[in-house]
Symmetry: C2
Subunit: 421 residues, 2 copies
C-alpha cells in the first residue's frame, strides 16, 4: 500500500512552524508498513491544493491531508477534496453537537462559522475530535482514499493513534507488527555496525535506527498475513537485539522516555533522588520532573551556579575550588556527596562543566564536563568532553547524566539484591 502526505498551511510555507505533523504521520506509516514516497506542503489556496491533491491521488492509494479544517474562509481543505472527489458537503449531526458542546463547556460563544466545521463530504466516515472542534474525515473513493486530519498536533496525534491507525490496519491485507528497542550509552554508528549483518540479511522484518541526543532507538517491523505471523517474525530479531545490547536497553516500550525509565527504576526500588546542577542549570531536574509522579522520587534539586552556592548548599570545600577549580573531578565528587548528605536522598547526581561559548582554556576546553553519581553511598565520577553549541553541550550532559545514573542504579541494585539473598 502506498500513501502520500499533504500538509496544508501558509504558516508552514512561511517557516512560521516546523512541520512535525508530516514526521509524525510518516513515522506512523513506516510502522504500519505503508510506503510513503512523497510529502508536500501547500498553502490555503484551492487551486494549488487541488493540483497537489490530484497529483498525489494518481500515485497513491491513500492521501493523508492535515490542516485547513478550521472555521474561517481560509480553511478549504475539505471543500477542495470533496470537489476533487465529486462529493457534496452535508452536515454531520453528531459533529455539530460535539462542536457546540466543546464551546459550551468552555463558556465560549460559537458562531455560524463554527457550523461549517460540521460539514463533511457525503458518504464519508467521520473521525470525532475529542481535543478540538474540527472532525477528521475519511473519504473512500474508487481510486484513492483521502484522510483529512486537523492541523494542531494536539488534535492530530490522538486522532491518528486512536482512529486512523486502526482504520489503515483494517484496510490492509497484510498486517504489520513493530516493536521498539531503546538504547542509551551507545552511539548510532556503533549500533548500526553491530546490527549490519541483521539489517543486510533480511527484508522482513526491517530494522531501522533513530538517533536522538544520548539515545538510539531501534524499530523492528514485520509484515504477515495475520498479527500472529508478523509477531513470529519480529520476536527472534528483537531477542537477538536484546542479546547483543543487553543493559544498554532501557526500555522496549515506545512511550517510555529515558528519564521515565530512570524514574521508574528509582520508584520501584523506593529510592529518592536529589540533584546538584551547575553546567546544566536545572535541565536535568526539569526533564526528570516532567515524568508524572515525580514527587515520590525527587524532593529537592540545587542549581549551584556560583562557587559560593556550591560551598553553602553542597559543602564543597573552599580549598577544592581554589586548587582544582569548579570544573574538576574533585568538585563533582564533593557536590554529589554534599547533595546527598544535605537532602538525605538515597541517590544523588552532580554536573559541573564549561558550556561556553567563553570560559574555555587549553587545559579545560568548552564542553569539559564532570558528572558525579552517588547511589546508596557509592560514588562514581566521570569526565566527558561534549561538542557543539552551548545548548547542545548542556543537552548531551543531561542525557549522559541520566545514562550514568541508570547504570549506577542497575549496578548497585543488583549488588543489593545479591547481598540480601
Amino acid at each position: 500500500m502506498k500513501a502520500e502526505i499533504i500538509c496544508v498551511g501558509t504558516e508552514i510555507l512561511m517557516g512560521n512552524i516546523v512541520n512535525t505533523n508530516a514526521a509524525y504521520i510518516s513515522r506512523g506509516l513506516a510502522g504500519l508498513g505503508v510506503s510513503c514516497y512523497y510529502q508536500s506542503v501547500v498553502g490555503d489556496n484551492d487551486g494549488r491544493l487541488a493540483e497537489v491533491f490530484n497529483e498525489a491521488a494518481k500515485r497513491a492509494d491513500i492521501v493523508i491531508l492535515s490542516g485547513g479544517l478550521g472555521p474561517t474562509e481560509d480553511d478549504l481543505t475539505k471543500e477542495t477534496v470533496a470537489k476533487a472527489m465529486g462529493r457534496q458537503l452535508i452536515e454531520d449531526e453528531k459533529a455539530w453537537k460535539q462542536i457546540k458542546k466543546f464551546f459550551e463547556k468552555r463558556d465560549i460563544k460559537y458562531t455560524d462559522n463554527n457550523r461549517k466545521q460540521a460539514l463533511v463530504p457525503e458518504g464519508a466516515r467521520v473521525l470525532y475530535n475529542k481535543n478540538g472542534t474540527a472532525p477528521g474525515i475519511i473519504v473512500e473513493g474508487e481510486e484513492v482514499t483521502a484522510i483529512l486530519l486537523p492541523g494542531p498536533p494536539g488534535e492530530l496525534i490522538p486522532m491518528w493513534d486512536d482512529q486512523v491507525v486502526p482504520y489503515i490496519k483494517e484496510k490492509s491485507d497484510v498486517v504489520f507488527v513493530s516493536e521498539m528497542v531503546k538504547l542509551c550509552g551507545v552511539g548510532e554508528s556503533l549500533v548500526e555496525t553491530e546490527l549490519k549483518d541483521l539489517i543486510d540479511a533480511q527484508s522482513n522484518p526491517t530494522i531501522a535506527t533513530y538517533a536522538k541526543v544520548g539515545e538510539v532507538d531501534i524499530r523492528v517491523t514485520a509484515s504477515g498475513t495475520d498479527e500472529k505471523a508478523a509477531h513470529k517474525l519480529v520476536k527472534p530479531v528483537v531477542k537477538e537485539i536484546k542479546k547483543r545490547f543487553g543493559s544498554y536497553i532501557f526500555t522496549t516500550d515506545e512511550n517510555v522516555t529515558l528519564e521515565a525509565a530512570v524514574m521508574q527504576l528509582l520508584d520501584e526500588n523506593k529510592l529518592t533522588l536529589a540533584t546538584a546542577e551547575s553546567l546544566t542549570g536545572g535541565m536535568l531536574t526539569s526533564r526528570l520532573i516532567n515524568v508524572p509522579g515525580a514527587s515520590e522520587v525527587i524532593k529537592t534539586g540545587f542549581v549551584t551556579y556560583s562557587n559560593k552556592s556550591k560551598r553553602k548548599y553542597l559543602g564543597v570545600k573552599r580549598s577544592t575550588l581554589e586548587k582544582h577549580g569548579a570544573v574538576s573531578e574533585q568538585c563533582a565528587k564533593e557536590m554529589v556527596k554534599g547533595c546527598q548528605t544535605a537532602t538525605k536522598a538515597d541517590a544523588a547526581i552532580s554536573l559541573t562543566g564549561i558550556a561556553g561559548p567563553d570560559g574555555g582554556t587549553d587545559e579545560k576546553p568548552v564542553g569539559l564536563t564532570y558528572i558525579g553519581v552517588s547511589v546508596l553511598g557509592k560514588i562514581k565520577v566521570k569526565k566527558f568532553v561534549f561538542s557543539g553549541e552551548r545548548e547542545k553541550i548542556r543537552e548531551s550532559a543531561t542525557a549522559t547524566a541520566l545514562t550514568m545514573l541508570r547504570h549506577s542504579l542497575l549496578e548497585n541494585l543488583t549488588e543489593r539484591t545479591f547481598s540480601e539473598q
Copy 2:
C-alpha cells in the same frame, strides 16, 4: 520572484527526522520577500526526484534542494539535477582540496567516494562548505536556477546565511528589508486584532505574526528599489507597532530570546537573581542559564518539590502549607521571599502549581499555578490556570514567569531611576 523547496532524504519520509531545513529556508525566503507556494520531500531515488524537480522548475524561478549530496551511491541530488538541466559533472579543484583538508585535519582517511563530492555541474557556482565536505551548488539555467545545499542543518544554515542570502539579494531586482518586533505577555489573537487595520491597509510592507509559547513575534517586510527605500517603508510601520504595544515589546533584535532579554535587563542593572521552582522543576532556571554569561546573574536556584524542601530551604511556614497547601498564593509568596532572603539575591522568582495529569481537584484544577516575583524587596504574586498536557503547562508557566519578572523589573527600575533623581 517565486521559489520552491525540495528536501531529499529517505530519513524524512520515514519520519526519522523532522524537516527543520524546510522551515529554515522558508523563513529565510519570507524575509527576502520571495514567494514560496510549495515544499516537497522525496527520497533518494532519481526517477522520483527528477519528476518532483521538473514539476517545481515549471512553476518557480528558483528551486532550492537540500540533502543527497553525500559521498555514497544513494546520494544523487547533484547527478539528477545536472541531468535535468543538461549539464556534465566536472571536478572542482578547490572543492577537492577543501575536502582533503577537512579529512586531514581530523586525521581521517578519505576514500575515492569522497572525491565524488567535489564534482559539480559545469558552469555552476560553487558554495564552499566550512562545516562539512559537500559543497553547495548554484546552477543557473535559462528557465530556472537550482540551488543545492547539504542536508545537515549545521552545514546548511551557515551556507544559507553567508552565501545563498547574498546571492538571492543580488539576483533580485528589488531589495527586501525586514524588521522583527517580539512581544511577551499578550496573545496572538489580540496582537492580530490590534494590527488588523495595519495588515489590511497595506501590501508593502507586509506584516506577519508568529506565535510561540508565551511570545508573539511580528515581522515587518518591505520591498523597494534599494535598501534605503525599503527601510523607509518599514520604519513607520515598526514605529506604529512600537507605539501600540509599548512595554509588551521585549526586543527588536531577531536573535534575542525572551530569557536573554530578561538576563540583559538584570545584568545591565547589576542585579542578581535566584529561583525557587516547584511545578517547573528547573525549567525556568535552565532557560535562563542557557544565556551565555549567566553566571554573572544567577548564583543559586532551588527545586523545592516537596513541602519539607520548601520549608528547609525557603523557610515556608508549616502552618501555611497546612492551611493553604503548597499550591497557594501564600506559599508562592513565602517561597519567593525565602529564596531572596536565603540567597541575598536582588531579585527572586517562585513557581508552584499542579502540572498533572493527576492531583487536580475542583477547587485546585490541573494547570493552577501561582508565580511570585520579588524585585528589590517588592513582592508580587499572581494566579494563573494554564491548559494542556503536563509539559505544556510547565512551558507556559516558565514563559509567563519570565514575562512577569520582566514586567516587575521594568516597573521597579523605573521607580528607582525616578527616586534616584
